[in-house]
Symmetry: none
Subunit: 421 residues, 2 copies
């Protein structure tokens, strides 16, 4: 079953708001086996809306329409639906009673404009809205179902959960869609793709689709498959996830499980530290506190995190982390010797079991021929065991900061789990 999402409203087109409704609806539909094949946003204009209805009904079995249901003059969705369905607006007594009690409860006066909210296209199935005044409406034309809902996210979500999703499941026999996502760090999309190309090629005949989802420093590999036997699908995807694991094991820092949120690397590290009872300390030069910010953005991080020093000049690397001034003279602040000294002292300062120290040239200034912008040294320590590595990331300051953080967190994870690099 193919669905299309249609948003009506100028606020999306002028970039005033982000279309978060579309993400939520797509996730909910995918979870019950409905494929979203198209999304559109159009203005509050009669011709544009009618054209969008026509186009959508050619593509999809189900069209979910949000927006344009407010009581003001610029909202014309209901009127345009009547024109499209060749019918008229009639007052629905259930909705009128809902709207009246909505205003009574809030001690607000019910105006004629508010009463108009209870008018719906004749013949539609009304979907009650417990969070607002504009009802949802379920309509059909030429074998396509149209559902119209308000654009306010929690009103739309209420109507979807209470009425639309149950109604779809009741009326249609839907396939099951199973997903699992492999989260990798430290390998680019193209090298990754070459490493797993034989495995990837064999997915086609198993009817599993694979998507590469890159972000700086990370690539997510999403496997998905659709069918009617839930157990079979699950086993098939889990088995392929197991097969790809040995090919790229050292890059995999976690998995996104079906129906759950994607875990962030700082959450995975946090969980690991908590399980092992380890305390973390940080020393950040080029990342300027970003790793500390990521770690502390996780609720409960004070259970495993002790603190951070950001020594943004050599003088403070010396004063606060006892990096000997000879290190700066002989090797510079962006050096193996410097990050090793930093990470050792961080363990002591924060009475930590594990620590990360980074020093690099984030840019755009500060690069030299030997050490261009992007050059970064990272050291991670677990007690006495220290691993340090040099990277050359790139030209972009924000990206260098982010890449350094992602790489450092994954190095720490591998050190704790004794995964060879």
């Amino acid at each position: 079953m193919d669905a299309e999402l249609l948003t009506i409203g100028n606020e999306i087109l002028i970039g005033q708001i982000t279309n978060t409704n579309a993400v939520w609806m797509a996730q909910q539909l995918n979870l019950i086996g409905v494929s979203v094949i198209h999304m559109s946003s159009v203005a509050d204009e009669r011709e544009a809306i009618l054209k969008a209805f026509d186009d959508a009904s050619e593509r999809a079995d189900l069209v979910l329409v949000t927006g344009g249901l407010g009581p003001t003059k610029d909202d014309i969705t209901k009127k345009t639906f009547c024109e499209y369905l060749e019918t008229d607006l009639i007052t629905n007594e259930d909705v009128l009673s809902d709207v009246t009690s909505f205003f009574t409860k809030r001690n607000k006066e019910l105006t004629d404009i508010n009463k108009k909210q209870s008018e719906v296209p004749n013949g539609c199935l009304v979907l009650r809205n417990k969070n607002g005044t504009a009802p949802g409406m379920w309509m059909e034309k030429n074998n396509t179902i149209f559902v119209s809902m308000p654009g306010v996210p929690y009103e739309m979500q209420g109507i979807m959960t209470d009425s639309v999703l149950p109604e779809i499941k009741k009326r249609f026999k839907l396939p099951f869609i199973y997903h699992k996502t492999v989260l990798t760090q430290g390998i680019g999309e193209s090298v990754l793709s070459e490493m797993i190309s034989d495995w990837e090629d064999a997915l086609v005949e198993k009817e599993i689709s694979l998507a590469y989802l890159p972000s700086p420093g990370m690539v997510r590999l999403r496997l998905s498959s659709k069918g009617f036997n839930e157990t079979e699908l699950k086993n098939k995807i889990e088995s392929e996830t197991e097969k790809v694991k040995p090919l790229i094991e050292k890059y995999i820092y976690g998995y996104e499980e079906y129906g759950k949120d994607q875990p962030k690397i700082e959450e995975i590290i946090g969980q690991l530290l908590l399980e092992k009872g380890l305390k973390l300390g940080l020393a950040e030069s080029c990342t300027g506190g970003y790793i500390s910010h990521l770690i502390t953005s996780v609720a409960g991080s004070s259970d495993y995190y002790n603190g951070c020093i950001v020594p943004y000049h050599n003088e403070f690397k010396n004063n606060l982390l006892k990096v000997d001034s000879s290190v700066f003279e002989k090797h510079g602040a962006v050096s193996k010797e410097c990050v090793i000294a930093m990470v050792k002292e961080t363990i002591l300062t924060f009475k930590a079991d594990v620590a990360i120290a980074v020093s690099g040239i984030a840019g755009p200034g500060g690069g030299t021929v030997e050490k261009p912008v992007g050059t970064t040294w990272i050291a991670v320590a677990y007690g006495d065991r220290i691993i340090q590595k040099q990277f050359v990331f790139g030209d972009n300051r924000q990206r260098n900061i982010h890449m350094t953080a992602m790489t450092a967190l994954n190095m720490l994870r591998k050190l704790i789990l004794k995964i060879e690099d």
Copy 2:
């Protein structure tokens, strides 16, 4: 001039990522006088893409396409463009040289798959991508311009800013849209709106539109007007900006000038520190390094920033910032006494002229009846002068961290500029 935004990629349709590109592009186009009349998202499928190209060319003069340009097998945008334009892929030597140097700089091997990134439809205008390997491409068919760009936000934004927007301005006579944005911190949208309501009401007949653009801790007020006489528009908007200033002066931390990026508060603070020759030090408990991250995300911040200590437990507030243990016993770590002690020692530790110290309960745990989640103390110091204040922000951890940072930075700004609170 009418534009359409087309996103290609399954990740949007299954709800895995939010389409933030569309918001950013719509804003940028609106600012130069181009109207966005339609947005669509389609799957990485030949037929769906070809149909979307056809439909878009009927509606719009300009179609901006993002996504589907990765080097892997699931990305078919380029191939489908060739089919649509009835042309072939050819290697572009400039792009090949960009791609090669992209990999060389990073000490990574250039694979055959990477080389394919330099293939573009014959006859297209290539738009260089300084942040990645997939170039932008400017093509035309039946009087409609198609621009294809990668979906990675900072790559797309780079190509838009460097090439697409200037090219549109060069080729078309667009109405002039002048705008100026007043940046405020520390006042909510509704209170702000009441304070300026008479001024706001008078804008209508001057044909100036006003938008409230809220984000946690901040509200931006954007004034804009459209026409063909640039000087007249500019004078009109500047004059209204001057009129609103005395009404809300203490909340205004800056302005976004026409044609320039919105200055972030950390950039405004950075500029101020640089001009006055002041050095900054930080001590962050509840914000966990976020203020330090913001400060150091500005290029050149090492000229005025010395460093930060994140003491995530009382023990380290005591060891590193000499907060007396009696302070914790008598007043707790989230107290006036604690942040004053922290800010004083931060001035000394980092040999700083100005400093910020924060301590609060970010949540979700740690709240009490007297000090609920969101309770935060902030102290700012300029030499011997210290100002401290308590806030109770709210329940959401990420929002509390962000609100604390925004508020602290603005308190420091006001202290330096001697603006009364």
